[in-house]
C-alpha cells in the first residue's frame, strides 16, 4: 500500500489516542513519501504508551508538517522520496508494523550504500523541525545525580576524569548520612514540583523504598522476574529453526507488558512500557546491571525528559560466556567491583551528555558521587570549571551548591 491509499480503516489496530491523532492528519499523511510515512507512524503507533514529553514532540511534528504547503513538504522530504526500496519492503505491512518495515529498510540502506544520503536527509529534516519548534524550558532546572554505589572499587583508577573539566571535583565527601541526605533532598524536590514521570530513579541493585515512594522507579533487582521471563523467551527463540538476530529482534519488539508477569502491578502503564523497552531493545541490559542503569538513563532522559533523574550503580556480574549469561542460570555469579566502577564512571559521563541534549541545558545541574571513594564532581551554571574543592563537603553542602 502507498500512503495515498490510506483510509481511516487502515489504522483500526492502533490504540485509541494514536488512532485519533493519525486520523486527524490523514490528508497530510497521504502526501508523504512511503519511507517517511513509516518513520512517522513508528512514532505515532505507540502514542498511548509515550511519556508526555514524547507526546508533545509527536503532536508538534504533525503540526509542523501540516503547516507546510504541499510544495514545501515535497521539497523538505525529497531525500526520503529518493530512497530506493527493495520489492520485499514495499510488500510489508508498514502501517501495522512500521518497526519491522524500518528494520528491513535499515538493512537495505546499508547494503545499497544509501545510508549516508539517508542520514543527510534525516538531519536536514530534524534541523528544520528544531527551527520551527518553540521549546518550553523545564519548570525548574533539571538535575541528574549519579551515585556509584557501595562495592564499586578499583585501586588507582582515575575517577571522573571525563567530568572533572566541566565542574568542581570534590576529593573528600563526608559519607556519614550522605545517601539519606540525598534521599531527603530528592523527596522534597519531587514533592514540590510534581509531574507525571517528572522524577525518575534507576537503581542497579535493590531500590531504596524511601526514594521510590516519590519517584517513578526502575531497579535491576526489582525487574529480576521480568528479566528471567525474557531470557527464557530468548532461549526458546534461539533454539527454533532458522532463528537469527533479525527474527529475534522482531520477536522481542512484539512482546507486550501484559504478556509477562510483573512483580509490581501498581506501576503506571506508560512507565511499565518504558521498563520493557529497556530490556527488549537495549543490548546487554538483561545481563549487566551497569548497562541496565546506563541505558535506562539514556532512554529516560531522551524520552521522558525528567526534571530529576537519580541513578545508582551497583556491582554487575563478572563477564562469562554470553550464552551462559543469557541462559539466566548465573544468579550466583560473583560480582566484578573493579570493572563495575569503570562502567559506572563512563555511565555518569554519558548521563551528563544526555542531559545536556535537553532544553534548559544551560541551567541544568549534575552531581556524580562515589560512595566508596568518597569523591564527587559538581557541575552547574554557577560553578567554576576544572577546579578542586579545597575542603571536604557534606551532601547537604553539595546540594546547596547545585540549588
Amino acid at each position: 500500500m502507498r500512503p495515498n491509499q490510506l483510509t481511516p480503516a487502515s489504522f483500526a489496530a492502533y490504540p485509541p489516542q494514536a488512532s485519533e491523532l493519525v486520523r486527524s492528519h490523514l490528508d497530510m499523511i497521504r502526501t508523504l513519501p512511503l519511507v517517511f510515512a513509516a518513520l512517522l507512524l513508528r512514532e505515532a503507533r505507540d502514542y498511548d504508551w509515550k511519556f508526555p514529553a514524547e507526546q508533545r514532540a509527536i503532536a508538534e511534528q504533525f503540526s509542523f508538517l501540516a503547516s507546510l504547503s504541499d510544495a514545501q513538504r515535497t521539497n523538505l522530504l525529497q531525500g526520503f522520496a529518493a530512497v530506493r526500496l527493495p520489492d520485499s519492503a514495499t510488500r510489508m505491512d508498514w502501517i501495522a508494523h512500521p518497526q519491522k518495515f524500518l528494520d528491513a529498510l535499515t538493512a537495505s540502506l546499508w547494503s545499497t550504500h544509501q545510508i549516508d544520503a539517508f542520514r543527510e536527509s534525516a538531519k536536514l529534516y530534524a534541523d528544520r523541525l528544531l527551527q520551527a519548534r518553540t521549546e518550553q524550558p523545564p519548570a525548574i532546572p533539571r538535575m541528574t545525580v549519579v551515585v556509584l554505589g557501595a562495592g564499586l572499587e578499583q585501586d588507582g583508577y582515575p575517577l571522573f576524569r571525563k567530568l572533572r573539566p566541566h565542574g568542581v571535583f570534590v576529593p573528600q565527601v563526608a559519607d556519614s548520612g550522605a545517601w539519606s541526605e540525598l534521599v531527603a533532598f530528592a523527596q522534597k524536590r519531587a514533592q514540590s514540583h510534581p509531574a507525571p514521570s517528572g522524577h525518575i530513579y534507576i537503581d542497579g541493585g535493590e531500590a531504596d523504598a524511601a526514594l521510590s515512594a516519590h519517584f517513578a522507579t526502575s531497579s535491576y533487582a526489582g525487574l529480576a522476574p521480568v528479566r528471567q521471563q525474557l531470557l527464557q523467551r530468548i532461549g526458546v527463540i534461539l533454539a527454533s529453526p532458522n532463528s537469527g538476530p533479525e527474527q529475534l529482534r522482531t520477536a522481542m519488539a512484539d512482546i507486550q507488558p501484559d504478556s509477562l508477569h510483573w512483580p509490581d502491578r501498581s506501576v503506571d502503564p506508560v512507565f511499565q512500557h518504558f521498563q520493557l523497552d529497556v530490556l527488549t531493545q537495549g543490548s546487554g541490559t538483561q545481563i549487566f546491571s551497569t548497562t541496565f542503569v546506563q541505558w535506562s538513563a539514556r532512554e529516560a532522559l531522551r524520552r521522558a525528559q525528567p526534571l530529576t533523574l537519580i541513578l545508582r550503580f551497583a556491582p554487575r556480574q563478572r563477564s562469562l560466556n554470553m550464552n551462559e549469561m543469557l541462559s539466566g542460570k548465573t544468579q550466583g555469579n560473583s560480582p566484578d567491583p573493579a570493572g563495575s566502577l569503570v562502567d559506572a564512571d563512563m555511565g555518569a559521563f554519558y548521563a551528563w551528555i544526555d542531559q545536556q541534549r535537553l532544553t534548559g541545558a544551560d541551567q541544568s545541574t549534575f552531581l556524580a558521587w562515589s560512595q566508596g571513594r568518597k569523591q564527587a564532581v559538581l557541575i552547574g551554571p554557577t560553578l567554576p570549571r576544572e577546579t578542586t574543592a579545597g575542603a571536604p563537603m557534606t551532601m547537604q553542602q553539595m546540594m546547596a551548591q547545585l540549588s
Binding site: 546499508w110 571525563k162 534461539l238 549487566f288 563512563m346 545536556q356 541534549r357 551554571p381
Partner: protein, 390 residues
C-alpha cells in the same frame, strides 16, 4: 554550561581530519614522529627489491576501537605496545575510511576482497568478489597450505574464498576458527572450564549461536597444527581470552606450515556491544599486547624474520559519544564519521619507519597493496595501492 561538540553539524571531511590531527598531535608530542618526516613518494622498485619468499601477515580488529580509547591523549595508556614498540618501526596511515557496511563479518570480507561487500552480515555467505587469498593462489600457483585465516567463529567460516566466477572453491584460504576447534576438542561436560575462551558474537547480544565443533575441526588439530587434543586443551587452559587462543593457533600455523599470507582477526573488544566499557577497554589492551606478540613471533621465526610485512588495522571505528543517534562506544550503528574512520599500521622490510601518511585512503586499499607487494594482480577490487609502503 559547556556546549557539546556538534559532530553532527561538521562535514565528514572536517571530522575525519580532526581524528587524524588528534593522532598526529599526540604522536608528535611523544617525539615518535619527527615533524619533518617527509611523506613517502611512490617507489616502484621497492617491491621488486623485497627478499624472495616475501610473506604478509594481516591483523584486523573485528570490533572497532575509537580514538578516545586509543590514539587520543586519554586513550594512549591502553595501547602502549602499539605506540612505544610498533609505531616507531611503522608507516602509519591516519585517515583510513571505511565506506561500506559497518558489520564485522561483511566489513572484514570487504577488507579481504578490496570491494565493499553487501551481503547480510549475519548470514554464512561467501564474499561476492574474489578474496586476496584467491588472487594470490591463482596468480602465483600457490598451494592451499600457503594462505590461512584465523578468525572468530561467528560467520567467518566463509571468508576464505568467494563465489566469484573464475575463482571460488579450491582457490581460497584455509580457515581456522579456534573456538570451534576448542569446542570440538572438549567434551561438552568439560567446557565450563573454557567459557572465557568461548565467548561469541557480540554484534547482537541476543544472538549467540552455540559453538559446535566436529570432525573437520578435530582433523585440523592433528593434520595442520600438529597438536594432540591434550596439548591443545592444556595450553588453552593457560589463556585468558578467545583472541589469545587465535594468536596461539596462528603461531602454530607459522611454525608448521609457514604460510606466505596469514590473516588474523581479533575480536575480544567487540564485547563493547554488551555496554560494559571496562570489558571493551580490556579487549583493546589485550589486542595491543597481542599485536606486539605477533610482531615478536614474526621476528623470532626463521621462515618470517626479515621478510615479512605486518599490516594492522581495525575494520572500522565505533560511534561518537556526541552523536545522539548512537550510544557512544557501545555500537557502530550511526554511520557517523568516527565510526567510519580508522587507521592502518604497516611494518616490515621496505616500509619507511616512522612515516605518517595523512592523505585519506580507504580500508579496501589493502588488497591491491598486498597484490603489488607480493606480485599478483587484483583486477576486481575497487581499492587503490598504498604506494607509501611499497
Amino acid at each position: 554550561m559547556t556546549p557539546l561538540p556538534q559532530f553532527d553539524s561538521d562535514s565528514f571531511r572536517m571530522v575525519s581530519r580532526r581524528v587524524a590531527l588528534n593522532r598526529r598531535d599526540f604522536l608528535r608530542a611523544a617525539g615518535l614522529i619527527g615533524a619533518s618526516a617527509p611523506l613517502l613518494g611512490f617507489q616502484p622498485l621497492r617491491a621488486a627489491a623485497l627478499p624472495r619468499g616475501h610473506k604478509v601477515v594481516v591483523v584486523t580488529f573485528g570490533g572497532g576501537a575509537r580514538d578516545e580509547e586509543t590514539f587520543a591523549p586519554d586513550g594512549q595508556e591502553n595501547i602502549p605496545h602499539l605506540i612505544q614498540t610498533l609505531l616507531p618501526q611503522a608507516a602509519f596511515y591516519s585517515r583510513v575510511v571505511n565506506q561500506g557496511i559497518l558489520g564485522h563479518y561483511v566489513a572484514t570480507a570487504s577488507l579481504a576482497t578490496g570491494a565493499y561487500e553487501t551481503f547480510d552480515n549475519f548470514a554464512a555467505t561467501p564474499p561476492a568478489n574474489p578474496t586476496v587469498f584467491e588472487y594470490y593462489r591463482k596468480a602465483l600457483h600457490r598451494p592451499a597450505t600457503d594462505a590461512w585465516v584465523v578468525a572468530p567463529s561467528n560467520g567467518f567460516n566463509r571468508i576464505g574464498e568467494s563465489d566469484a566466477h573464475g575463482f571460488g572453491p579450491g582457490l581460497g584460504a584455509g580457515v581456522i576458527l579456534p573456538k570451534h576447534l576448542l569446542a570440538a576438542a572438549m567434551p561438552q561436560h568439560q567446557q565450563t572450564a573454557f567459557t572465557h575462551l568461548l565467548r561469541d558474537n557480540y554484534e547482537d547480544p541476543y544472538y549467540t549461536p552455540d559453538l559446535r565443533g566436529g570432525e573437520f575441526e578435530l582433523s585440523q588439530l592433528d593434520t595442520i597444527l600438529k597438536l594432540s587434543v591434550r596439548e591443545f586443551t592444556q595450553h588453552a587452559l593457560s589463556l585468558s581470552s578467545a583472541d589469545e587462543l587465535s594468536v596461539y593457533v596462528a603461531h602454530q600455523l607459522m611454525r608448521q606450515l609457514a604460510p606466505s599470507l596469514l590473516w588474523i582477526t581479533l575480536h575480544d573488544m567487540d564485547v563493547a556491544h554488551s555496554g560494559a566499557f571496562s570489558l571493551y577497554v580490556e579487549g583493546i589492551r589485550r589486542s595491543d599486547r597481542l599485536c606486539a606478540e605477533i610482531w615478536q613471533m614474526i621476528q623470532s621465526e626463521p621462515e618470517y624474520a626479515g621478510k615479512t610485512t605486518l599490516f594492522i588495522l581495525p575494520d572500522f571505528g565505533r560511534d561518537s559519544d556526541f552523536d545522539s543517534g548512537g550510544n557512544g562506544f557501545q555500537h557502530h550503528r550511526t554511520g557517523d564519521a568516527l565510526s567510519r574512520t580508522t587507521w592502518i599500521m604497516a611494518l616490515g622490510p621496505g616500509v619507511r619507519q616512522g612515516a605518517m601518511i595523512d592523505r585519506p585512503v580507504q580500508s579496501i586499499d589493502l588488497v591491491p597493496t598486498l597484490g603489488t607487494l607480493m606480485g599478483f594482480d587484483t583486477p576486481r577490487c575497487h581499492g587503490r595501492v598504498l604506494t607509501e609502503v611499497l
